[in-house]
Symmetry: C2
Subunit: 387 residues, 2 copies
């Protein structure tokens, strides 16, 4: 296929939005399908929420962090504002808490779909993503998070994305610690920024050496799990932080046992983009992918009078496609457009794409012109075109 | 799965938008995948345009009829208006005419995706549809339309939608006739309305008995092809109308030969919703489906300095799902959540969904509570739950 990568052609689309061309569009669809097949085989059932819904339901609960990233449109029928989803997790939680409120817990739901964001990031200029994910509704302990993490890795493995590296984090851990240390909200926010910049000296200057000690000790636990897990487990922490840490440590041990050859990194200071996580969480990476392959963790779904502990994972198809094995391009054979259906189907069953000719005979020249790999010989068998 | 069909739960979503729940969401995805697999096996290559793009490209050419049905959003980056697609045909034509301008013709492209419409119709209140379709770019004679029509029927057949009924139409035929009769635009529009109401007396009164004769003769050709084709072929028409009619007749004969047992209906007066068709066109129906399964036909893609004859077909998944065979629901077996991966994968290879237990042992009672069909016996084999 001759593709024109002209700037003029690109400029037809808004920044961050793009056309997927052959073979990428099919590769993405096939990879999404393989990921979902693994979710379904493991007890998750597919749901499909709409692309737009009332902004008050789309941006409630865990969705409120998405408000700035959500396109709004007016519904001319109800005269109410609707939002174009920028994430599907809130929608799945809404379905679980309303239409499926009576289904037994834990409830396992899977989804795949498009999401749109008002702005791309520097790392990911794209504004439309394909998300494939699943949610475990009604469970969020480390066994639940482990199920979700291991299933995400298994799905990637089935899509032939191997050598996945895992970051294990606990977004509420630092806030629990700063609360226990009696820091004000302003001090806590400043400390988070300084920890992120690894400026431990400034942390000490801000809150004093005594209060900084635990934070500095925690910062020393960032690194490969085989080196960092023991010091993290040994830290003397105040009760709330200790409970979160203990849960993270149990999760890491479970993941180490299940995935002994994967790279596990502990990052108990990480929190960006995980604002709605209420316990252990994770991000998945692979060499060759521009950004995260996916992420997940524990959160709460709060809907009207119902508050459910949940966990889930989302995979981003654009990043997964950077590293997933691409399906081989099938051979294409030019056939007369009146070739009987049975003959055509027999060639397709052998793995050929049959390309009907519309102008003139199905000659080798026409086959070459239409980017076929084969033409039909006099005996009706495909003959490869000379290279 | 216990589903609450409460009005309160429904009211969470804007009118015409809905959640697909298990098993419908998976049935839709699987049916779409089967349709596309047939398109791809027959030489069409998948493309995936974005959900939103600049309205001037989305609503240009054949897309201009969609303007009233298109949600608009402002792009905060470029400050230009973007539209949420209400149809994918224009997007695929744009791709063909820009990025793939250098690809050999005929160019065969397939797609599946969501479209959104500002308002639903009485027959179809839905405002979000899944479209699966394909476009044949650079060909629009009756051989091309026949390829497209027969492939659409074959794809439905592969999705186990049988007994498809076909309406064959020619939207530009009546306009060609009214032009040849020298009717003004206003008279022509009035005549179309009257023909639609089958008010042939009023047609005569409006344009006079002599001019009305051909229109009345044409109206007599509406009906089953085996009865109506011969009179349509025999009509003495002015040249432009005769050429369109001849092409329709050749198409009908080709379809009769290929699909001898299908119901074919001629409706040379039909034009609603086919405003951008430039030649023969068709709509597909099946008993049990609320609306059309799909439609297609010949059109022109006009992009900047390029004008290409095209034809294509679109299938609507909501209507197709009304009549497609649903996949059997797989058996679900409850397993301990630490069941080794190999044992789990072996059960999945046998067709079981494995549902991990998170609370307590994988007992028959827990299996029943989680809507499983089986539990694991002491020998590790699935045991069906007593009904």
């Amino acid at each position: 296929m001759t593709v024109l990568p002209l700037p003029a052609a690109h400029a037809l689309l808004p920044n961050g939005l793009r056309d997927l061309l052959p073979p990428d569009a099919q590769d993405e669809a096939q990879t999404a399908q393989r990921l979902v097949a693994t979710f379904l085989a493991n007890g998750y059932q597919r749901v499909k929420p709409p692309l737009i819904e009332f902004e008050e339901s789309l941006l409630s609960g865990a969705g409120r962090t998405a408000a700035a990233q959500t396109f709004r449109v007016m519904d001319p029928i109800t005269q109410r504002m609707m939002g174009l989803r920028s994430d599907m997790t809130t929608q799945v939680a809404r379905i679980a808490g309303t239409r499926l409120a009576g289904a037994p817990r834990p409830l396992r739901l899977a989804y795949v779909g498009q999401v749109l964001r008002v702005r791309g990031s520097q790392l990911r200029p794209e504004r439309q993503f394909t998300q494939a994910g699943f949610e475990l509704i009604g469970a969020a302990d480390e066994a639940a998070v482990a199920e979700v993490l291991l299933l995400a890795v298994e799905a990637l493995d089935q899509a032939e994305v191997t050598s996945v590296a895992i970051d294990l984090i606990c977004p509420p851990l630092v806030p629990a610690l700063t609360r226990a240390l009696g820091l004000s909200d302003a001090e806590a926010a400043e400390v988070r920024d300084l920890l992120e910049q690894k400026d431990l000296v400034a942390v000490s200057q801000t809150v004093g050496a005594e209060k900084a000690r635990l934070l500095v000790d925690l910062a020393a636990c960032v690194g490969p799990a085989e080196r960092s897990l023991a010091p993290l487990a040994a830290l003397a922490l105040p009760p709330e932080a200790a409970a979160l840490r203990d849960s993270l440590v149990r999760l890491v041990r479970q993941v180490q046992e299940a995935l002994p050859t994967h790279d596990l990194t502990l990052d108990p200071l990480e929190h960006h983009g995980f604002e709605y996580q209420t316990g252990s969480a994770f991000a998945l990476f692979a060499r060759g992918a521009r950004g995260e392959l996916g992420r997940g963790g524990a959160y709460h779904s709060v809907l009207a009078d119902r508050d459910e502990a949940c966990c889930g994972a989302t995979l981003y198809l654009d990043a997964v496609l950077d590293v997933a094995r691409r399906a081989p391009v099938p051979p294409r054979v030019l056939v007369e457009n009146d070739l009987p259906r049975e003959a055509r189907r027999a060639l397709q069953a052998e793995g050929f794409v049959t390309v009907p000719t519309l102008a003139g005979p199905a000659s080798p020249e026409e086959a070459r012109r239409l980017h076929c790999t084969h033409f039909l010989g006099p005996d009706g068998r495909p003959v490869p075109l000379a290279p």
